[in-house]
């Protein structure tokens, strides 16, 4: 591996940085949190009941988006939306998915912090992630 020397500092070539990133991702993929998330994500994808419940809820949200933003849903509409929401979130696989997602996020946030601190840049913010994802 060739390294450039720049003002007596040994510069790591891009290939080395990307290889380290690859190894980091591979190590993260071996964690219990990632494997659990991957497993439940696949089960969720294959669960037709959960998928139907999700689609029904999302479609209704989409249809009534303007009303929701204006807080202008009728009591009947609000009740219907709440019912669809509960039908989705009550699915066991959905609850397991959210739990696994939360646990993986906690690990990734910890890793993001330890990447951010020495560099002086917020990793997530630098990668263009805002509070809305």
């Amino acid at each position: 591996m060739e390294d450039q020397t720049f003002d007596n500092i040994e510069i790591a070539p891009l290939s080395a940085v990307l290889a380290a990133a690859h190894d980091f991702a591979a190590a993260l993929a071996e964690t219990a949190q990632f494997k659990a998330f991957e497993d439940v994500a696949e089960r969720f994808r294959r669960d037709s009941v959960a998928q139907q419940a999700m689609n029904a809820y999302q479609e209704k949200q989409k249809t009534w988006r303007a009303l929701i933003m204006l807080n202008a849903l009728s009591p009947e509409q609000s009740a219907e939306l709440e019912s669809l929401k509960n039908a989705f979130f009550d699915q066991t696989v959905v609850q397991e998915y959210l739990k696994a997602q939360t646990e993986l996020a906690a690990l990734c946030q910890f890793l993001g912090d330890i990447l951010s601190e020495p560099t002086g840049l917020n990793y997530a913010a630098a990668c263009g992630v805002s509070c809305c994802g």
Partner: protein
């Protein structure tokens, strides 16, 4: 609950950090940051600019910004753009950010999800 990393993940994280800090982009960034911090004129100018921008943002929300204030902001921005220490710092930061994005792409491709999204603390 404190997070404990596996030895493999700890080692991989440390290696990534070390390689990042030794990259050309981050060596430039750290040097430019140090030069900026050591330059009183540059620091004062950026401080003035930040304060004026914050003040005008608030006034804009209240519908109270006038042309003279906008002109003041523009003048300060032009002074910042003519300051070589500030511009070098800004440019180096952009390059460091670009490297982080490239790394995130590498990590995310292997994982099949956006690592930065999961690493983000902020919520709406």
């Amino acid at each position: 609950m404190p997070t404990t990393l596996s030895p493999q993940l700890q080692e991989a994280a440390e290696s990534l950090i070390n390689n990042l800090l030794a990259s050309e982009a981050f060596v430039h960034y750290q040097n430019a940051h140090a030069r900026f911090k050591a330059d009183q004129e540059a620091c004062d100018l950026m401080d003035q600019l930040a304060k004026l921008q914050a003040r005008l943002r608030q006034k804009q929300a209240d519908g109270e910004v006038n042309q003279a204030e906008i002109d003041s902001l523009r003048l300060l921005q032009q002074r910042a753009q003519r300051n070589s220490v500030i511009m070098a710092y800004s440019q180096s930061q952009e390059e460091a950010v670009n490297l982080l994005r490239e790394i995130n792409k590498e990590i995310s491709q292997l994982l099949g999800l956006n690592f930065a999204s999961f690493a983000n603390h902020a919520t709406c």
